[in-house]
């Protein structure tokens, strides 16, 4: 099996996704977050929470915590990188396609929820939006 050439599924676990999984960026908690929110995906046990520090309408600082599969955690790590320093109004515009695009891999329907869990945290936590529109 290990002699197999690089396949679509090795792509699935591309280096930088594994890197974000093993070395998550912005991991941890903020001492005094302006917003803090956590969501879980009970069907697979993935958990992602985010702490936001907001200054003048800009995401001044951000941390995430959680546990789960590589997709959910790498997606959260990638999203925090993108959000840091972003005006809230711009953050509001981030959608599914942005998040999936950033992952840059084909996500099967069964794993979509893992990939989008961090976006749900952003949406529900930061804007109080109903979180079920990706179903």
């Amino acid at each position: 099996m290990s002699s197999k050439p690089l396949s679509a599924d090795d792509q699935f676990y591309r280096e930088y996704i594994l890197d974000h999984y093993k070395n998550p960026r912005n991991y941890g908690r903020l001492e005094r977050p302006d917003i803090t929110h956590e969501e879980d995906n009970p069907l697979c046990g993935d958990v992602v929470g985010m702490d936001f520090s907001i200054k003048d309408g800009v995401i001044d600082d951000i941390r995430f915590h959680g546990r789960g599969c590589a997709i959910s955690q790498a997606s959260a790590s990638l999203l925090t990188e993108r959000l840091k320093g972003m005006p809230l109004d711009d953050a509001k515009k981030i959608n599914k396609d942005d998040v999936l695009g950033e992952l840059g891999i084909e996500i099967s329907p069964a794993r979509i929820k893992c990939a989008l869990l961090s976006l749900k945290v952003l949406k529900v936590g930061a804007y109080g939006l109903a979180g079920d529109d990706e179903e």
Binding site: D9, P42, G45, A70, R111, C114
Partner: protein
């Protein structure tokens, strides 16, 4: 000698090349089963029990023949005790509504176990909430086996109902049901055994077992989806009011009131899953031809083989009891690799592996894990499929190294 290669020829799906290691979830269905349903569709497709013509008579006969086959399969005293349902879940809910609402009172104790399937927990939670009963859960020990000491203590409180599974779908633990039923009955409880994993793999003799209710699903034992069974002791079923109302479960319907049909039809309202029940009959025949003893032997062999192969892998933890006390189910975890990621990688090799909580969240909470990976086996599983799983695991470890 059990000829697994010959058995596999009956399952067209294996021509697709999959290694199917998710039989505890749902089994595959052999040609003998699917062609029985097809025969119904193409030759005598009609409704039952209102037969005014031959094809409806044949449909009725074959539908009722399944009942007799199932009766013999679980050694019930009478076909009046065999009720068709969609599956284990509906069977348990039927009891929770039709028996539970009338018989469980405020303050009554319901004893469940921490390793049960949601389908044998949630209906009782709903009942307990409605009727003001309380629930206690028998814990497991470090091997994943029910703590019999605690079970006995709970029995001293004279529970109204005790419900547990014959075999755990998440860990494969084979529970000592004979002893547990005997003790629960002696304590005066009504006893339901969830046989969803027991009936397909161990079989059962409900009269020897002595339980009041026994539930199982056809789709986990080579039958089609949509057909399952509730066995109930006749005396209890007679006393119970119906669950659902509608066509076929009545004797007379009048504006002033209605009288109900005899057992078992009292509990079968509306058009049943006729084709599926006929298919279930063919599945029972198929299992009978293989022989439950042979099935068990084959599964034990595969399970031991898999247990050993998996235990040899570094960074892999197997949950639950040793192979001698487990059915064909192995739940495990890999260091640093989430079960979902493993399943996705296995899927690339067409290895069908389950990852998740296996509808046993209280057990997952108890084990302190969000999810496990699970391989489960059945009549058609061959060692080659286990080898392919091992290959996928090693591949995952390479990728995540």
């Amino acid at each position: 000698m059990y000829d697994v290669a010959a058995v596999r020829k009956d399952f067209p799906i294996f021509e697709t090349g999959i290694a199917y290691l998710d039989s505890a979830n749902t089994s595959q269905r052999p040609r003998q089963v699917t062609s029985a349903v097809l025969d119904y569709w193409e030759r005598y497709n009609s409704n039952i029990h209102r037969a005014a013509y031959k094809i409806a008579e044949e449909a009725t006969d074959r539908y009722e023949a399944t009942r007799e086959k199932v009766r013999a399969f679980i050694n019930a005293a009478s076909t009046k005790e065999i009720i068709n349902t969609r599956g284990t879940t509906e069977a348990i809910n039927l009891v929770a509504y039709a028996w539970g609402r009338a018989n469980v009172r405020a303050g009554d104790l319901i004893v469940l176990t921490i390793l049960d399937h949601h389908s044998n927990i949630v209906p009782w939670q709903i009942l307990a909430e409605a009727n003001g009963a309380r629930i206690e859960y028998v814990d497991i020990d470090e091997r994943g086996e029910l703590r019999q000491d605690q079970f006995r203590e709970l029995l001293e409180q004279q529970p109204r109902l005790v419900a547990f599974s014959q075999v755990s779908n998440a860990l494969g633990t084979i529970n000592p049901v004979d002893d547990m039923v005997k003790r629960a009955k002696a304590a005066g409880a009504t006893v339901l055994v969830d046989g969803a994993q027991g009936a397909p793999h161990q079989g059962v003799d409900v009269r020897a077992l002595g339980c009041d209710f026994y539930a199982f699903s056809g789709h986990k034992m080579l039958g089609p989806t949509g057909a399952g069974i509730l066995y109930g002791r006749r005396e209890l079923l007679e006393q119970m009011d119906p669950f659902m109302g509608g066509g076929d479960m009545i004797k007379t319907v009048r504006v002033e009131g209605t009288t109900y049909h005899d057992l078992p039809w009292k509990f079968e309202a509306g058009t049943q899953a006729i084709g599926e029940v006929i298919g279930l009959g063919a599945a029972v025949d198929y299992i009978g031809e293989l022989g439950m003893e042979n099935i068990r032997e084959h599964e034990t062999e595969i399970t031991e083989y898999a247990y050993e192969a998996l235990s040899d892998i570094e960074g892999l933890t197997v949950y639950g009891p040793p192979p001698s006390r487990r059915a064909g189910v192995i739940s495990f975890a890999l260091d640093g690799i989430h079960p979902h990621d493993l399943a996705t990688i296995a899927d690339r090799d067409q290895v069908c592996l389950r990852a998740g909580h296996h509808c046993a969240m209280p057990l997952m909470t108890r084990l302190g894990v969000p999810a496990t990976a699970r391989a489960s086996f059945y009549v058609y599983t061959q060692k080659d499929e286990v080898d392919r799983l091992v290959g996928s695991i090693k591949e995952a470890q390479r990728i995540f190294k």
